[in-house]
Amino acid sequence: MNVLELAEKLNLKVISGNEGLSNEITGGYASDLLSDVIGHADAGNIWITLQTHKNVMAIASLKDLAAVVFVNNLQPEDDMADQSNEENIPVLVSSDPAFTINGKIYQLIN
């Protein structure tokens, strides 16, 4: 499944990185600890988090992640969109809390 299909099925709002909407999702990783993500996420994963600062994009890019999802309607900090567009890694926003959106994504991609 690609990022666009997932965003449409789960009503996620696409904030930036539109050119990466065709990225194929290989799995998911849910964490708010950056060392956990850099150490354990796999390429192609969709990352669900409440961290909304620029370092999230740096990690997403270093790990070749498919997309980033913010929970609870959290909005990205201002300087995030540029990097998301440059790297073609979409930033999506969900109105659900983490447990709920993780469950939905898990069901959809497994």
């Binding site: 060392s35 150490g39 961290q51 620029k54 890019s61 270093l62 300087d79």
Partner: protein
């Protein structure tokens, strides 16, 4: 093949954290280095770079790529590490609460480094700075 690169790392500036890692990743990709090796370099270098940003004042990353290995040496001016064995323990962190709130400071950085290096040597002098020297072999299967 024998190449050297040097990057400055600014202490305290989180907006630039990961810049050196990102550049090195690009270089290694261009050199067609095995993707498994690139992944290990990225984790180790990112964590060492972030440690300078989070814990030290200023530093630099020296990257040396040869035919059989990649050597990464991060040298900083900073407070140093009084007890390296303690610092290596997963979960141990002296990061400020502001840094923790950003999701850094989980105390997993040095473990991540250890898990992704073939060689690791840390030396440190309190009040002076720290040297983290890492090597990752290129032809591991």
């Amino acid at each position: 093949m024998f190449m050297n690169f040097e990057f400055n790392v600014e202490g305290g500036n989180f907006t630039k954290a990961g810049t050196a890692s990102s550049q090195v990743k690009k270089i290694l990709k261009q050199l067609n280095v095995d993707s498994k090796v690139i992944k290990r370099v990225v984790v180790a270098l990112y964590e060492a770079e972030v440690n300078i940003v989070a814990h030290a004042w200023s530093g630099k990353a020296l990257i040396n790529i040869s035919t059989d290995r990649i050597d990464l040496k991060l040298t900083d001016e900073g407070p140093g590490i009084p007890d390296i064995e303690l610092a290596m323990q997963q979960g141990y962190s002296t990061a400020s609460s502001a840094v923790r709130e950003m999701g850094f400071g989980a105390g997993m950085g040095l473990s991540n480094i250890k898990n992704n290096c073939d060689e690791l040597e840390i030396t440190s002098e309190v009040g002076i700075g720290t040297v983290v020297q890492m090597a990752i072999y290129l032809n591991t299967k």
